[in-house]
């Protein structure tokens, strides 16, 4: 259904031509009009010349999933005309650059084609070639402002903010936006039947991407050492951390840094740096994606086996191998849950949006230090790199980092002997000391067999004691990881289980299914190991669907393995082509399953 403040449109452009700023200008303008909005950037793994799209969905009801249908396509990349025309829903609109004769590919009986000579107008108006190319994007933003009734005072205010005193750029952008706006107003049916009208539904929200949010969380958690190796789609996380540290962590007098960021030679080194810093007592982290996690496996096992805290932000992308670096997936679940060789199991937490990235970043550092183990924050490209509309972040100034069991010199005085891996409390967590502490606090970290005193051993009993303690420790984290979020609809016997960025689409699908007479409950898992709530949810429902973005149903398999369910007791809905999930995929899959089951 499309209508006032409830529709979607997308722009098909060429990567590297400056369309990103025009697209984010449009999205932000809608947000500032008080209308809930979502933007998805679908970009190629290159710098210049390949096709790229930007999808914007406005939803008066606040739905933020990727749209199932597109009402208007702006086709500015001739090489994708065929695909772009196809993407328009029946009865929708196509806007193209009419500077050149219309391509036969653009013809479709059931849509309305609108033309604006963006290229020609820019060539006539601007002298520099670069301006003619870049400002064509601002011109289409202007035409869309007219077609969709975007408030021009908001748009022009944003241009003023963005270009400030750069008078030439400011003037050129104002000219370009008016080129498109005035042409559309004079020649096209403005506004279209679906368009925008001011609301007041975004005043308590912000627009932020998940990588920025995770970085901000790391700053607030008190992380001081960051090590990384550049990789899409995780790179921006450390860049944001650096920029926040430059803002908040530079001594005002000496200009010296209260942080250390090391760009490592590879992911192996990044993991080593993080573990060395964790051992030394710093809150340290790395940001990476699937290929990086593969390389870090050896060190992850070392940290697990030697009880060293470390935080890994894994911004997942399409695998295996190099896969599709700029497409989203949730296919690292196995490699995170049981990373490294031997018997291992790790704490993994799953944010669903940037606000949770912020909050869970802080939780990750607390969990890592409390449980003295690697902790993974598994987001994905959709969360990490797209701007999301989320509630403003909040902070409680009474928060203090949970450093876990650390014995300082004073505490060491009170005990007869310090044994690094002695489980005094029965929770599997032994007290640690930090290097530099004197007295009896020194011990030897070794990845080879060691006993509870940290001494080398190949004795079976000592080994069993150690690995069983580690199992007890990690299993004990099940109720410390973020609890699942459950949304219920009256009378539902169908349960949908999902994870991470699928959340928005699944919750919307649940509303649609419920409205259609098939009430469903939704549980979003936020932590691994799974808590008892997860088991209960599965047993409470006659039929359970697990919705995730990977080929092999990794979440469903983990649920089956860890909780003892038969794999076929749950049905999979899998969407792993690399695009953010849409509600339609879920609705259709559930509906077709129910039809099949009743037939």
């Amino acid at each position: 259904m499309s209508g006032i403040n409830d529709f979607a449109f997308k722009m098909g452009t060429v990567n590297g031509t400056g369309s990103a700023s025009a697209n984010s200008l449009l999205m932000q303008a809608i947000f500032r009009m008080g209308i809930p909005v979502t933007g998805k950037n679908i970009f190629p793994s290159n710098i210049q010349g390949l096709p790229t799209w930007y999808e914007i969905r406005v939803s008066k009801d606040g739905y933020t999933a990727r749209p199932s249908d597109v009402d208007l396509v702006v086709a500015l990349n001739q090489s994708t005309y065929a695909r772009d025309v196809k993407a328009v829903r029946a009865g929708g609109y196509l806007l193209y650059d009419s500077s050149w004769p219309m391509d036969a590919e653009l013809l479709r009986d059931d849509i309305t084609v609108l033309g604006v000579p963006f290229g020609r107008m820019c060539i006539e108006t601007f002298e520099k070639d670069r301006d003619r190319t870049l400002l064509r994007n601002i011109a289409y933003a202007g035409a869309l402002a007219a077609l969709l009734n975007i408030d021009m005072t908001v748009v022009e205010g944003m241009l003023n903010e963005k270009f400030g005193k750069k008078q030439r750029l400011l003037d050129a952008n104002h000219t370009a936006i008016r080129l498109g706006y005035d042409y559309a107003k004079a020649n096209l049916p403005c506004p279209l039947p679906f368009h925008l009208e001011k609301m007041d539904k975004t005043s308590d929200s912000i627009l932020m991407d998940g990588n920025t949010a995770s970085a901000l969380g790391a700053v607030f958690a008190g992380a001081t050492v960051g090590a990384w190796y550049p990789i899409t789609p995780a790179t921006a996380l450390m860049e944001a951390f650096k920029s926040f540290c430059e803002k908040y962590r530079v001594d005002p007098e000496t200009k010296l840094h209260r942080y250390a960021i090391l760009q490592a030679e590879d992911e192996l080194a990044a993991a080593g740096i993080v573990i060395g810093a964790g051992w030394a007592g710093a809150r340290s982290f790395t940001n990476t994606s699937g290929p990086g996690i593969s390389l870090m496996q050896e060190f992850i096992g070392l940290a697990y086996y030697t009880d060293i805290p470390a935080v890994f932000f894994d911004v997942q992308r399409c695998g295996p191998a190099t896969g599709m670096p700029t497409r989203t997936q949730q296919a690292d679940l196995f490699s995170l849950a049981y990373a490294s060789h031997g018997d291992t199991k790790h704490i993994v937490i799953f944010p669903a949006d940037p606000r949770e990235c912020f909050e869970m970043a802080v939780q990750a550092f607390d969990l890592a230090e409390r449980f003295q183990t690697p902790v993974f924050v598994a987001s994905d490209l959709d969360i990490g790199m797209n701007d999301w509309m989320v509630k403003r972040f909040e902070w409680d100034d009474s928060y203090r980092p949970d450093r876990g069991k650390v014995l300082d010199a004073e505490a060491l005085q009170k005990i007869e002997r310090f044994s690094r891996y002695l489980d005094v409390d029965g929770d599997g967590i032994a007290a640690r000391t930090l290097p530099g502490v004197g007295g009896k606090g020194a011990y030897f970290v070794r990845g080879s067999g060691h006993d509870k005193h940290a001494a080398y051993t190949e004795d079976s009993d000592a080994y069993l004691e150690l690995v069983d303690r580690l199992k007890r420790k990690i299993d004990g984290a099940a109720n410390a990881v973020p609890a699942p979020v459950v949304t219920r609809h009256a009378g539902a016997d169908i349960g949908l289980i999902t994870i991470g960025s699928c959340d928005a689409a699944v919750r919307e699908a649940a509303d649609i299914l419920t409205a259609q007479g098939t009430p469903v409950n939704v549980m979003r898992i936020r932590g691994f190991p799974f808590s008892d709530d997860v088991r209960e949810f599965i047993t409470q429902h006659g039929r359970v669907f697990v919705i995730e973005q990977n080929r092999d149903a990794q979440l469903r398999a983990l649920l089956a393995i860890e909780l003892g369910f038969a794999r076929d007791s749950m049905h999979s809905i899998l969407d792993y082509g690399g695009m953010p999930l849409t509600p339609k995929v879920v609705v259709d899959a559930v509906a077709s399953h129910l039809v099949g089951a009743s037939a």
Binding site: L216, A227, R249, R258, A269, G278, W279, A282, G436
Partner: protein, 357 residues
């Protein structure tokens, strides 16, 4: 078993250092290496150096990777904090620890397999990063723990225990370090404690990454005729290019004083960051241990003659900027910065939120 403890017996007449500790206080567990292993002599030299320098044991991080060499960390300074990491990855773990706590002294022990094959990348980048640490490379040209394969430092033509010649060209850690911009590069021989101890002391005192390549023969797999890393070959072919002595700022040296020079002009004094100094005397009249290019050429020429140039071959204390200088970090260890100075707080967050509207 690296955990075998030595009996804590202290002889009444034992000399004590500035901290009141005897040399026994700097020992570690009993060595489990083969009798006669060169690495045990390196251990002894490290113990001597640390004791003479009054290093507080608990303020030392002993770091290593995997292999015979990496076991060394267990055999000295039992009151220090130790870390056996994974094969070839000691440099990154040390980089992280040093980033977090710059106030400790980091002593990394590695071998030629650990450093020059699996860990070559990490060694190279620790040099580039100029981590403030001593990096001892116990170099025997062979994989001892897996029973005798050639390592990347084996010379062409050097024979294995089974008599097979090595065909591949060696990686020389000193030439590597000089090429990559290391600010301290020394070579010594485990059988020459007199030379090794002052070098280790100068290396520990150096502000930045100090590599000390120690030819440390493997008695089990590489101490035979035809090996170029045997005791006999190393003794015969080593050429002491630079005689070095470390002098603490306010201390009369305990080790060998350089008194053999004919004229004072031949002795160069390099001021170290810790207030001490290192006195250098080159045996070749035109050798300049502060000139990277001529040092490189000299080491290369010795190598071509089948000789092993030893001593403190290169030192650059003045231009050396260690990792923290490049990172512009605060002088105190990051782990000691109070949380209140790390967290911007609620008011800052509220203000920041406006930027995302």
């Amino acid at each position: 078993m690296t955990s075998i403890a030595k009996p804590p017996v202290r002889h009444k007449s034992s000399r004590t250092n500035g901290l009141g500790l005897t040399i026994r206080d700097y020992e570690g567990a009993m060595s489990t290496l083969c009798a006669g292993c060169g690495h045990d002599s390196v251990t002894a030299a490290l113990i001597q150096a640390a004791w003479e320098m009054d290093l507080e044991p608990h303020r030392v991080g002993k770091m290593s990777g995997i292999g015979c060499s990496s076991k060394t960390t267990a055999y000295f300074m039992k009151q220090s904090h130790g870390f056996n990491s994974v094969h070839g990855r000691m440099p990154s773990v040390t980089s992280g620890a040093a980033a977090a706590n710059r106030a400790l002294t980091y002593i990394g022990i590695s071998g030629d397999g650990d450093s020059l094959s699996i860990g070559l990348g990490q060694l190279s980048h620790a040099i580039r990063r100029n981590v403030n640490m001593l990096y001892v490379l116990e170099n025997n040209g062979v994989y001892g723990l897996t029973k005798g394969q050639f390592s990347a430092s084996a010379d062409i033509g050097s024979l294995s225990k089974k008599g097979e010649p090595n065909e591949q060209s060696p990686i020389d850690p000193i030439l590597l370090a000089l090429t990559l911009g290391a600010t301290f590069a020394a070579r010594s021989f485990s059988g020459d404690k007199k030379q090794l101890v002052p070098i280790l002391k100068a290396a520990i005192a150096h502000h930045g990454f100090a590599i000390v390549d120690v030819i440390s023969p493997c008695v089990s797999f590489n101490d035979h005729e035809g090996s170029t890393k045997s005791y006999a070959h190393t003794r015969d072919q080593s050429v002491e290019t630079v005689i070095a002595d470390y002098l603490p700022g306010d201390f009369v040296p305990l080790t060998r004083e350089i008194t053999v020079s004919d004229t004072e002009e031949e002795i160069r004094v390099v001021q170290l960051h810790d207030g001490g100094s290192v006195r250098l005397r080159a045996t070749a009249p035109d050798y300049d241990p502060t000139n990277r290019e001529s040092a490189y050429t000299h080491v290369r020429q010795c190598q071509q003659r089948g000789e092993i140039a030893t001593g403190l071959l290169y030192v650059d204390e003045e231009q050396g900027r260690e990792m923290h200088d490049m990172l512009r970090t605060v002088p105190e260890p990051l782990i000691e910065v109070p949380y209140e100075q790390l967290c911007p707080g609620r008011a800052a967050l509220d203000a920041l939120m406006e930027r995302y509207r």
